[in-house]
């Protein structure tokens, strides 16, 4: 079976729009969360978001949007885009540069993408509003493209001229973790040489505030205190958007090109709770089986694992259930360090899996263990689990990245530092 490595990363996140900025934020525990203007008003109980900096979407007309950097998109490229696709376009540029992909290699039958986005609720709402209030004949010709969750892969495949596999994954907050797992399988089965893994989400009231109805969002107003995964007083997650990209490449292909290897994707597992549409199984059983499946797939023993980037969104139920899953997988002996980077970024929904896998790549390559921010009083549920409440001097070699979504879908991906020994 072929092996897969990561050769490029791209970030448009609340904690930075470049590898260097994201790395600094993770090392220095800088939050990307701040009061969000869209949430102002007395009728909105939620005030904070992990805002994406450097972009503006003042109207639904893409020609009004602003975004950083080069190259600029043409009107015909931009007109079918969503905010999440535009974030992804910018993150893709970084990943393509880092992986040194030439135009030939980018637009190649053996280069594809696996991506994930919940779609742009905002534009879908706008388009339906036009249809209902102004008539079917008044809708923009491309309205259907930016109204569906598939708009992310649709835009990226067309804009970058991709010729290989293309798929949008839809498994709520596990979506882009699934995308990474599927990309790994495509490489291992020799179906593709390079697969972009992309997670992206809008960052606005339309895709974040619906979670307020489920009382899943933090109503704290101080970004120095929330989100606080694993803290006894956590009160929900803080939403974020943006995009993250990993270039997953077949090992020998990467070696032949002489491109620097950032880390290896060792294996993955997935399992479902079969329990409830929204509430995770309190026993953590589904996530436990996903983690065990990933370890087995990666041919790792539990004590090989140095670090777990937990799904931990800072909801009371979710974090506790994940603690039970971790305790079940690592019943004794050495437990890996555990942290939730969502306490800095906010929860990126479909973006989360890819973003946090990319954080794991940084942690493995740069030899640091990310901190789980804003913990003042550790939840007793975490007893016995080494949650990283303050910086530790530990350079992980093997990391697991957990992701869980509505309906009790669970994914775990195993990554290993690339130390040239192969």
């Amino acid at each position: 079976m072929k092996r897969a490595v990561v050769t490029g990363l791209g970030f448009i996140t609340s904690i930075g729009n470049s590898r260097a900025d994201v790395l600094r934020s993770l090392r220095e525990c800088r939050t990307g969360v701040e009061p969000f203007e869209e949430f102002s008003g007395a009728d909105c109980p939620v005030k904070l978001a992990g805002t994406v900096k450097g972009f503006a979407f003042p109207s639904t007309d893409p020609e009004d949007w602003t975004y950083p950097g080069e190259p600029r998109l043409t009107r015909t490229q931009l007109r079918a885009m969503t905010p999440n696709a535009l974030y992804a376009f910018c993150a893709m540029q970084q990943a393509i540069r880092e992986a040194r992909l030439t135009p030939d290699l980018l637009s190649h039958p053996r280069t594809g993408l696996m991506c994930a986005s919940g779609g742009s609720m905002w534009l879908a709402y706008h388009n339906f509003h036009t249809m209902i209030t102004r008539g079917v004949a008044r809708c923009q010709p491309l309205a259907v493209v930016n109204s569906i969750p598939g708009s992310l892969y649709i835009n990226l495949v067309a804009t970058f001229g991709l010729k290989g596999a293309s798929l949008g994954c839809s498994s709520a907050c596990a979506s882009s973790a699934h995308a990474l797992g599927l990309a790994l399988d495509l490489i291992r089965l020799d179906r593709q040489d390079i697969v972009f893994v992309i997670g992206a989400e809008d960052c606005n009231k339309f895709n974040i505030l619906p979670f307020a109805a489920a009382r899943a969002l933090s109503v704290q107003t101080d970004p120095a205190r929330t989100p606080c995964a694993f803290d006894r007083n956590r009160d929900g997650f803080v939403g974020t958007g943006g995009a993250a990209v990993l270039v997953v490449e077949e090992l020998e292909h990467a070696r032949r090109r002489g491109v620097p290897i950032l880390s290896e994707v060792l294996g993955w597992g997935q399992a479902s709770d079969g329990y409830n549409v929204m509430i995770p199984d309190p026993s953590g059983d589904g996530l436990r089986r996903a983690m065990e499946s990933a370890l087995s797939d990666a041919r790792l023993r539990p004590d090989d694992v140095d670090y777990i980037n937990a799904h931990a969104t800072s909801t009371p139920v979710g974090d506790a259930s994940e603690c039970r899953a971790i305790r079940a997988v690592f019943p004794g002996g050495k437990l890996p360090f555990v942290s939730s980077t969502k306490s800095l970024t906010g929860h990126g929904l479909s973006l989360a899996g890819a973003m946090e896998a990319a954080f794991c790549v940084l942690a493995l390559q740069e030899k640091f263990t990310p901190v789980s921010a804003h913990i003042t009083e550790l939840d007793p549920e975490c007893t016995g689990i080494p949650i990283v409440t303050a910086p530790v001097d530990a350079a992980p070699r093997v990391a697991l990245n957990n992701a869980s979504g509505f309906g009790g879908t669970n994914v775990c991906v195993a990554l290993r530092r690339w130390d040239h020994a192969g």
Binding site: T74, T76, R79, G135
Partner: protein, 285 residues
């Protein structure tokens, strides 16, 4: 006629990436129906959508310049252009019509013809039952128009009583007679078809089919029984259209021309804000 504030705002918003001359021409067209404004509007909108990569600049274009091959509009951009033209000129360009438009000149001529033609209100293609069902909210088994034809303010329609209409089983048992109430329903459906097809153009705003309702009926008379296998001819004629009401006269005859029914005043109400009380009859109606 000066445009109301909202119409003007919407018009300007739709044209905000166009040059000032285009906006000025669009306002002139909408206020006075001045068809000499059309070329300026068409050029202005093409300019707004033309990609920077196209080989021919609009300034160098003539009537033979092709929209796709020369000006570089792809088929989706062409649809964006068409949508903007439809919004500004308040008309609908059908798919079949669009296929015949390839050059700047054809576009200008088509629009001028369409706008001038719309004023002389030519007879249009007859509607069959399927096409009627696409427009009307009333659906089988409660659709009582088989064919329809629009001609200015008159809509003529036919309905053949099939004999298997569900209500004939009880109206009356063993003696099927087409109910009088359904005769007036059929006239009401004919009036609905006129409002949905002609109303938006006449009023300059959409009329959603789920916001159109029966309001009242005056001077309704039935002269003769109608039985299965008879082919009824229906005619409604608009007497007045003013938001939120459309007022018609209507009559039903047999194929041989015998009077079946008549109504002096059939009122439909439309829009989100329906009148709460029945409107009082106007002496002129």
């Amino acid at each position: 006629m000066a445009l109301d504030e909202k119409t003007l705002t919407d018009l300007k918003e739709g044209l905000r990436r166009c040059n000032a001359a285009t906006v000025e021409a669009a306002i002139r067209f909408r206020e006075n129906g001045d068809s000499s404004a059309i070329p300026t509007i068409v050029y202005g909108l093409i300019e707004r959508y033309q990609p920077s990569t196209s080989t021919v600049r609009l300034a160098d274009a003539n009537d033979e310049t092709r929209l796709v091959e020369d000006l570089g509009l792809d088929s989706l951009t062409l649809l964006e252009l068409v949508l903007s033209i439809e919004e500004v000129l308040q008309l609908r360009i059908e798919n079949e019509e669009l296929k015949a438009i390839r050059t700047v000149g054809q576009m200008k001529k088509f629009l001028e013809d369409k706008i001038n033609g719309a004023r002389s209100t030519p007879a249009t293609e007859p509607y069959n039952r399927d096409r009627i069902a696409l427009v009307l909210p009333q659906q089988p088994p409660f659709l009582f128009l088989d064919t329809a034809e629009l001609n200015g303010e008159i809509l003529t329609a036919t309905y053949t009583i099939k004999g298997d209409e569900f209500f004939l089983e009880g109206h009356f048992r063993g003696d099927p007679i087409f109910p009088a109430s359904i005769l007036f329903e059929a006239l009401g459906q004919a009036a609905c078809l006129w409002v949905l097809e002609r109303g938006p153009q006449a009023l300059g705003k959409p009329i959603p089919s789920n916001q159109l309702f029966f309001a009242s009926l005056d001077g309704a008379h039935v002269y003769r029984k109608a039985r299965p296998q008879e082919r009824l001819s229906l005619e409604v004629k608009l007497t007045r259209l003013r938001e939120p009401l459309a007022i018609f006269q209507g009559r039903v005859t047999t194929a041989a021309g015998d009077r079946v029914a008549q109504v002096d005043r059939l009122v439909l109400a439309f829009g989100e804000q329906l009148p709460t009380a029945e409107p009082s009859p106007t002496p002129s109606a």
